[in-house]
Protein backbone atom coordinates (compact mmCIF):
# COMPACT_ATOMS: atom_id res chain seq x y z
CA UNK A 1 0.00 0.00 0.00
CA UNK A 2 2.87 2.36 0.83
CA UNK A 3 4.44 1.84 -2.58
CA UNK A 4 1.13 2.57 -4.27
CA UNK A 5 0.71 5.73 -2.20
CA UNK A 6 4.18 6.97 -3.09
CA UNK A 7 3.63 6.13 -6.76
CA UNK A 8 0.43 8.18 -6.90
CA UNK A 9 1.99 11.10 -5.02
CA UNK A 10 4.89 11.18 -7.49
CA UNK A 11 2.71 10.67 -10.58
CA UNK A 12 0.51 13.64 -9.63
CA UNK A 13 3.51 15.95 -9.89
CA UNK A 14 3.69 15.46 -13.64
CA UNK A 15 0.40 17.08 -14.71
CA UNK A 16 0.70 19.59 -11.83
CA UNK A 17 4.09 20.81 -13.05
CA UNK A 18 2.78 20.90 -16.61
CA UNK A 19 -0.15 23.07 -15.57
CA UNK A 20 2.08 25.31 -13.47
CA UNK A 21 4.36 25.88 -16.48
CA UNK A 22 1.33 26.76 -18.59
CA UNK A 23 0.13 29.28 -16.00
CA UNK A 24 3.56 30.51 -14.94
CA UNK A 25 3.06 34.08 -16.14
CA UNK A 26 -0.57 34.38 -15.17
CA UNK A 27 -0.24 33.33 -11.55
CA UNK A 28 1.05 35.32 -8.62
CA UNK A 29 3.50 32.93 -6.96
CA UNK A 30 4.47 35.09 -4.00
CA UNK A 31 1.45 37.18 -3.04
CA UNK A 32 -2.33 37.13 -3.62
CA UNK A 33 -2.32 40.12 -5.94
CA UNK A 34 -0.59 39.48 -9.30
CA UNK A 35 2.90 41.01 -9.32
CA UNK A 36 2.12 42.93 -12.51
CA UNK A 37 -0.53 44.81 -10.51
CA UNK A 38 1.47 45.68 -7.40
CA UNK A 39 4.38 47.98 -6.79
CA UNK A 40 6.80 48.45 -3.91
CA UNK A 41 7.14 51.80 -2.15
CA UNK A 42 10.69 52.23 -3.46
CA UNK A 43 9.76 51.59 -7.07
CA UNK A 44 6.67 53.83 -6.89
CA UNK A 45 8.81 56.62 -5.40
CA UNK A 46 11.35 56.22 -8.19
CA UNK A 47 8.63 57.12 -10.70
CA UNK A 48 8.66 60.63 -9.29
CA UNK A 49 6.26 62.98 -11.05
CA UNK A 50 5.22 60.22 -13.40
CA UNK A 51 3.16 58.64 -10.63
CA UNK A 52 -0.24 59.72 -9.41
CA UNK A 53 -0.82 58.53 -5.84
CA UNK A 54 -4.43 57.59 -5.09
CA UNK A 55 -5.66 57.25 -1.53
CA UNK A 56 -8.48 54.69 -1.34
CA UNK A 57 -9.10 55.12 2.39
CA UNK A 58 -12.21 56.73 3.95
CA UNK A 59 -12.30 60.54 4.10
CA UNK A 60 -11.44 60.85 7.80
CA UNK A 61 -8.23 58.80 7.38
CA UNK A 62 -7.20 60.82 4.34
CA UNK A 63 -7.75 64.06 6.21
CA UNK A 64 -5.66 62.86 9.15
CA UNK A 65 -2.64 62.20 6.95
CA UNK A 66 -1.85 61.03 3.45
CA UNK A 67 0.95 60.78 0.90
CA UNK A 68 1.80 64.37 -0.11
CA UNK A 69 0.08 65.18 -3.38
CA UNK A 70 -2.15 62.09 -3.25
CA UNK A 71 -5.64 62.29 -4.70
CA UNK A 72 -8.51 60.95 -2.68
CA UNK A 73 -10.64 58.34 -4.50
CA UNK A 74 -12.75 56.00 -2.39
CA UNK A 75 -15.88 54.00 -2.99
CA UNK A 76 -17.88 56.05 -0.49
CA UNK A 77 -17.91 59.03 -2.87
CA UNK A 78 -16.65 57.47 -6.09
CA UNK A 79 -18.77 59.55 -8.47
CA UNK A 80 -17.93 62.80 -6.71
CA UNK A 81 -14.20 62.10 -6.43
CA UNK A 82 -13.76 60.55 -9.88
CA UNK A 83 -13.99 63.94 -11.58
CA UNK A 84 -10.91 65.50 -9.91
CA UNK A 85 -8.99 62.28 -10.51
CA UNK A 86 -9.87 62.21 -14.22
CA UNK A 87 -8.89 65.86 -14.53
CA UNK A 88 -5.43 65.08 -13.11
CA UNK A 89 -4.85 61.83 -14.99
CA UNK A 90 -2.98 61.57 -18.25
CA UNK A 91 -2.01 58.47 -20.24
CA UNK A 92 1.71 58.48 -19.47
CA UNK A 93 1.17 58.52 -15.71
CA UNK A 94 1.33 55.46 -13.49
CA UNK A 95 -1.41 55.21 -10.86
CA UNK A 96 -0.38 53.99 -7.41
CA UNK A 97 -3.39 53.12 -5.23
CA UNK A 98 -2.96 52.56 -1.51
CA UNK A 99 -5.03 51.93 1.58
CA UNK A 100 -4.14 51.06 5.16
CA UNK A 101 -2.15 47.86 4.76
CA UNK A 102 -1.57 45.09 2.28
CA UNK A 103 -4.55 43.19 3.66
CA UNK A 104 -7.21 45.84 3.27
CA UNK A 105 -9.27 45.46 0.12
CA UNK A 106 -10.03 49.11 -0.54
CA UNK A 107 -7.05 49.74 -2.80
CA UNK A 108 -7.60 46.50 -4.69
CA UNK A 109 -11.24 47.48 -5.33
CA UNK A 110 -10.42 51.04 -6.45
CA UNK A 111 -7.64 49.72 -8.71
CA UNK A 112 -10.04 47.17 -10.20
CA UNK A 113 -12.64 49.84 -10.95
CA UNK A 114 -10.08 52.14 -12.55
CA UNK A 115 -8.91 49.29 -14.77
CA UNK A 116 -12.39 48.03 -15.69
CA UNK A 117 -14.52 51.18 -15.77
CA UNK A 118 -12.01 53.81 -16.85
CA UNK A 119 -9.95 51.26 -18.82
CA UNK A 120 -6.75 52.77 -17.50
CA UNK A 121 -3.88 50.34 -17.90
CA UNK A 122 -1.04 51.41 -15.61
CA UNK A 123 -2.78 50.99 -12.26
CA UNK A 124 -0.83 49.45 -9.37
CA UNK A 125 -1.63 48.58 -5.76
CA UNK A 126 1.02 49.69 -3.28
CA UNK A 127 2.55 46.71 -1.48
CA UNK A 128 2.17 47.15 2.27
CA UNK A 129 -0.07 50.21 1.79
CA UNK A 130 0.07 53.38 3.85
CA UNK A 131 1.88 51.64 6.72
CA UNK A 132 4.70 50.57 4.43
CA UNK A 133 4.96 54.11 3.05
CA UNK A 134 5.25 55.47 6.60
CA UNK A 135 7.99 52.98 7.44
CA UNK A 136 10.06 54.04 4.45
CA UNK A 137 9.44 57.74 4.98
Amino acid sequence: MLKQTVALILLAFLPAIGEAIYYRHKVSWQSPVPPSETVTVDLARSWGDNAIWVDARPDNEFERDHVPGAIRLNEDRWNELLGPFLATWSPEKKIVVYCSTQSCNLAIEVARRLRNEAQIKDVFVLQGGWEEWLKKK
Binding site: D76, W78, W89
Partner: protein, 237 residues
Protein backbone atom coordinates in the same frame (compact mmCIF):
# COMPACT_ATOMS: atom_id res chain seq x y z
CA UNK B 1 -7.55 -14.62 10.21
CA UNK B 2 -10.62 -13.67 8.20
CA UNK B 3 -12.70 -13.41 11.38
CA UNK B 4 -10.09 -11.04 12.81
CA UNK B 5 -10.33 -8.95 9.66
CA UNK B 6 -14.14 -8.86 9.84
CA UNK B 7 -14.25 -7.81 13.51
CA UNK B 8 -11.63 -5.16 12.72
CA UNK B 9 -13.91 -3.81 10.04
CA UNK B 10 -16.89 -3.83 12.39
CA UNK B 11 -14.94 -1.93 15.05
CA UNK B 12 -13.89 0.63 12.48
CA UNK B 13 -17.43 1.09 11.17
CA UNK B 14 -18.70 1.56 14.74
CA UNK B 15 -15.93 4.08 15.48
CA UNK B 16 -16.72 6.06 12.34
CA UNK B 17 -20.43 6.14 13.14
CA UNK B 18 -19.70 7.30 16.71
CA UNK B 19 -17.29 9.97 15.46
CA UNK B 20 -19.87 11.06 12.90
CA UNK B 21 -22.62 11.31 15.51
CA UNK B 22 -20.36 13.17 17.93
CA UNK B 23 -19.47 15.79 15.34
CA UNK B 24 -23.13 16.35 14.48
CA UNK B 25 -23.85 16.69 18.19
CA UNK B 26 -20.93 19.09 18.47
CA UNK B 27 -22.43 21.27 15.78
CA UNK B 28 -25.81 21.12 17.48
CA UNK B 29 -24.35 21.46 20.95
CA UNK B 30 -22.20 24.32 19.78
CA UNK B 31 -25.35 26.27 19.17
CA UNK B 32 -26.62 25.62 22.69
CA UNK B 33 -25.49 29.12 23.74
CA UNK B 34 -26.69 31.74 21.29
CA UNK B 35 -28.83 30.37 18.48
CA UNK B 36 -28.94 32.61 15.42
CA UNK B 37 -31.97 32.91 13.17
CA UNK B 38 -29.59 33.56 10.27
CA UNK B 39 -25.83 33.94 10.09
CA UNK B 40 -25.94 35.10 6.47
CA UNK B 41 -28.23 37.86 5.29
CA UNK B 42 -28.63 39.00 1.71
CA UNK B 43 -29.93 42.52 1.15
CA UNK B 44 -31.27 44.18 -1.98
CA UNK B 45 -31.38 47.92 -1.32
CA UNK B 46 -33.28 50.14 -3.72
CA UNK B 47 -31.51 52.53 -6.06
CA UNK B 48 -30.68 55.70 -4.18
CA UNK B 49 -30.55 54.01 -0.76
CA UNK B 50 -27.59 55.25 1.23
CA UNK B 51 -27.43 52.29 3.60
CA UNK B 52 -28.41 48.66 3.84
CA UNK B 53 -29.23 47.29 7.26
CA UNK B 54 -29.14 43.64 8.29
CA UNK B 55 -30.68 42.39 11.52
CA UNK B 56 -29.03 39.25 12.87
CA UNK B 57 -31.44 37.96 15.48
CA UNK B 58 -30.41 35.54 18.19
CA UNK B 59 -31.82 33.77 21.19
CA UNK B 60 -29.99 32.33 24.19
CA UNK B 61 -31.11 28.70 24.11
CA UNK B 62 -28.55 27.66 26.70
CA UNK B 63 -28.88 27.54 30.44
CA UNK B 64 -26.18 30.13 31.19
CA UNK B 65 -26.11 33.86 30.46
CA UNK B 66 -23.97 34.85 27.49
CA UNK B 67 -22.03 38.09 27.34
CA UNK B 68 -21.12 39.71 24.03
CA UNK B 69 -17.54 40.95 24.38
CA UNK B 70 -17.12 42.67 21.03
CA UNK B 71 -18.61 43.10 17.58
CA UNK B 72 -16.08 43.73 14.81
CA UNK B 73 -16.53 44.29 11.10
CA UNK B 74 -14.27 43.43 8.19
CA UNK B 75 -14.52 46.89 6.67
CA UNK B 76 -14.86 50.49 7.78
CA UNK B 77 -17.87 50.77 5.48
CA UNK B 78 -19.87 48.49 7.79
CA UNK B 79 -20.86 49.40 11.33
CA UNK B 80 -22.26 46.75 13.65
CA UNK B 81 -23.51 46.77 17.18
CA UNK B 82 -25.33 44.47 19.53
CA UNK B 83 -28.62 45.50 21.12
CA UNK B 84 -27.57 43.89 24.41
CA UNK B 85 -24.32 43.06 26.10
CA UNK B 86 -25.61 40.38 28.47
CA UNK B 87 -28.18 37.88 27.29
CA UNK B 88 -30.00 35.85 29.91
CA UNK B 89 -31.15 32.31 29.14
CA UNK B 90 -34.29 32.44 27.01
CA UNK B 91 -33.68 36.07 26.10
CA UNK B 92 -33.54 37.34 22.52
CA UNK B 93 -31.69 40.18 20.88
CA UNK B 94 -30.05 41.22 17.64
CA UNK B 95 -26.85 42.46 16.10
CA UNK B 96 -27.54 45.25 13.66
CA UNK B 97 -25.10 45.63 10.79
CA UNK B 98 -25.29 48.79 8.71
CA UNK B 99 -23.48 48.79 5.42
CA UNK B 100 -22.76 52.22 3.94
CA UNK B 101 -23.44 51.80 0.22
CA UNK B 102 -21.81 54.99 -0.99
CA UNK B 103 -20.95 54.58 -4.64
CA UNK B 104 -20.13 50.91 -4.42
CA UNK B 105 -21.27 48.55 -7.15
CA UNK B 106 -22.01 44.88 -7.58
CA UNK B 107 -22.33 42.35 -4.77
CA UNK B 108 -20.55 43.40 -1.62
CA UNK B 109 -19.81 40.75 1.02
CA UNK B 110 -18.85 42.05 4.45
CA UNK B 111 -18.12 40.07 7.58
CA UNK B 112 -19.17 40.79 11.15
CA UNK B 113 -17.42 38.86 13.94
CA UNK B 114 -19.20 38.60 17.27
CA UNK B 115 -17.02 37.61 20.22
CA UNK B 116 -18.80 36.12 23.23
CA UNK B 117 -17.82 34.46 26.49
CA UNK B 118 -19.50 31.24 25.39
CA UNK B 119 -16.85 28.54 25.82
CA UNK B 120 -18.03 26.40 22.92
CA UNK B 121 -18.80 29.06 20.36
CA UNK B 122 -16.77 32.10 21.29
CA UNK B 123 -16.51 33.62 17.80
CA UNK B 124 -19.48 33.84 15.49
CA UNK B 125 -18.95 34.87 11.88
CA UNK B 126 -21.93 36.72 10.39
CA UNK B 127 -22.05 37.58 6.71
CA UNK B 128 -23.83 40.57 5.24
CA UNK B 129 -24.21 40.30 1.48
CA UNK B 130 -25.52 43.38 -0.25
CA UNK B 131 -26.53 43.21 -3.89
CA UNK B 132 -26.27 46.77 -5.12
CA UNK B 133 -28.60 47.57 -7.98
CA UNK B 134 -26.78 49.45 -10.68
CA UNK B 135 -29.28 51.21 -12.89
CA UNK B 136 -26.73 52.13 -15.55
CA UNK B 137 -23.68 50.30 -16.83
CA UNK B 138 -21.28 52.82 -18.33
CA UNK B 139 -18.31 51.69 -20.37
CA UNK B 140 -15.81 53.33 -20.40
CA UNK B 141 -16.09 56.22 -17.96
CA UNK B 142 -13.12 57.96 -19.58
CA UNK B 143 -12.35 58.85 -23.19
CA UNK B 144 -9.14 60.56 -24.16
CA UNK B 145 -7.04 61.83 -27.04
CA UNK B 146 -3.40 62.69 -27.32
CA UNK B 147 -2.52 66.25 -28.21
CA UNK B 148 -2.29 66.48 -31.98
CA UNK B 149 -4.47 63.41 -32.52
CA UNK B 150 -7.33 63.75 -34.97
CA UNK B 151 -10.30 65.04 -32.97
CA UNK B 152 -12.65 62.20 -33.91
CA UNK B 153 -15.66 61.43 -31.73
CA UNK B 154 -15.27 58.62 -29.21
CA UNK B 155 -18.19 56.70 -27.76
CA UNK B 156 -19.33 55.78 -24.31
CA UNK B 157 -21.89 52.99 -24.11
CA UNK B 158 -24.65 53.24 -21.51
CA UNK B 159 -26.84 50.22 -20.77
CA UNK B 160 -29.82 50.33 -18.46
CA UNK B 161 -30.27 47.33 -16.18
CA UNK B 162 -33.15 44.97 -17.00
CA UNK B 163 -35.19 46.03 -13.96
CA UNK B 164 -34.72 49.74 -14.62
CA UNK B 165 -36.54 50.99 -17.69
CA UNK B 166 -34.86 54.20 -18.78
CA UNK B 167 -36.49 56.59 -21.22
CA UNK B 168 -33.85 59.30 -21.43
CA UNK B 169 -30.40 60.05 -20.15
CA UNK B 170 -28.90 63.49 -19.95
CA UNK B 171 -25.36 64.72 -19.71
CA UNK B 172 -24.36 67.98 -18.04
CA UNK B 173 -22.80 70.51 -18.08
CA UNK B 174 -22.44 71.82 -21.55
CA UNK B 175 -18.73 72.19 -22.20
CA UNK B 176 -17.15 74.65 -24.62
CA UNK B 177 -14.26 72.32 -25.44
CA UNK B 178 -16.21 69.13 -26.06
CA UNK B 179 -19.33 68.35 -28.05
CA UNK B 180 -21.62 65.64 -26.72
CA UNK B 181 -24.35 63.78 -28.55
CA UNK B 182 -26.68 61.13 -27.12
CA UNK B 183 -28.14 58.47 -29.41
CA UNK B 184 -30.88 56.16 -28.22
CA UNK B 185 -30.06 52.64 -29.49
CA UNK B 186 -33.22 51.00 -28.13
CA UNK B 187 -33.55 48.20 -25.60
CA UNK B 188 -32.37 50.47 -22.82
CA UNK B 189 -29.06 51.17 -24.60
CA UNK B 190 -27.61 54.58 -25.35
CA UNK B 191 -24.48 55.82 -27.06
CA UNK B 192 -22.80 59.06 -26.01
CA UNK B 193 -20.43 60.52 -28.56
CA UNK B 194 -17.89 62.96 -27.19
CA UNK B 195 -15.74 64.99 -29.54
CA UNK B 196 -13.10 67.63 -28.71
CA UNK B 197 -13.23 70.77 -30.79
CA UNK B 198 -9.48 70.56 -31.15
CA UNK B 199 -6.60 68.60 -29.65
CA UNK B 200 -3.96 71.26 -29.87
CA UNK B 201 -3.59 71.64 -26.12
CA UNK B 202 -4.30 69.54 -23.02
CA UNK B 203 -7.84 69.94 -21.72
CA UNK B 204 -10.07 68.01 -19.35
CA UNK B 205 -13.79 67.91 -18.78
CA UNK B 206 -15.95 66.07 -16.30
CA UNK B 207 -19.60 65.33 -17.03
CA UNK B 208 -22.50 64.11 -14.92
CA UNK B 209 -24.80 61.46 -16.35
CA UNK B 210 -28.30 61.00 -15.07
CA UNK B 211 -31.11 58.71 -16.15
CA UNK B 212 -34.64 60.18 -16.27
CA UNK B 213 -35.37 61.55 -12.82
CA UNK B 214 -33.28 58.98 -10.95
CA UNK B 215 -31.43 60.42 -7.96
CA UNK B 216 -28.28 58.51 -8.88
CA UNK B 217 -25.63 60.47 -10.80
CA UNK B 218 -22.62 59.10 -12.61
CA UNK B 219 -19.36 60.73 -13.61
CA UNK B 220 -17.64 60.41 -16.98
CA UNK B 221 -14.54 62.24 -18.13
CA UNK B 222 -13.00 63.43 -21.35
CA UNK B 223 -9.37 64.37 -21.68
CA UNK B 224 -6.88 65.65 -24.20
CA UNK B 225 -3.46 64.88 -22.82
CA UNK B 226 0.21 65.11 -23.72
CA UNK B 227 1.96 61.80 -23.99
CA UNK B 228 5.35 63.33 -23.11
CA UNK B 229 6.44 62.43 -19.55
CA UNK B 230 7.14 66.07 -18.76
CA UNK B 231 4.71 67.98 -16.60
CA UNK B 232 1.48 68.41 -18.52
CA UNK B 233 -0.91 70.85 -17.01
CA UNK B 234 -4.51 70.35 -17.92
CA UNK B 235 -6.88 73.20 -18.19
CA UNK B 236 -10.08 72.08 -16.58
CA UNK B 237 -13.05 73.79 -18.08
Amino acid sequence: MEKAGLSCTIVLVKTTIIAFTLSILLCVGARAGLTWEQTQIELHPAVGDKEAVGHFKYKNTGDRPVRIKSVRTSCGCTAAQSQKEAIAPGDTGEVTATFKIGDRTGTQVKGVTVETDDRVHSNIALVLKTVIAQPLEIQPVLVYWQTGEEPKAKSISVKAAKDFPVKEINITPVNQNFETKITKMGNGEFKIDIQPRDTARPIAAVFTLQADASPKKFTVGARVANLAPSKATAVQQ
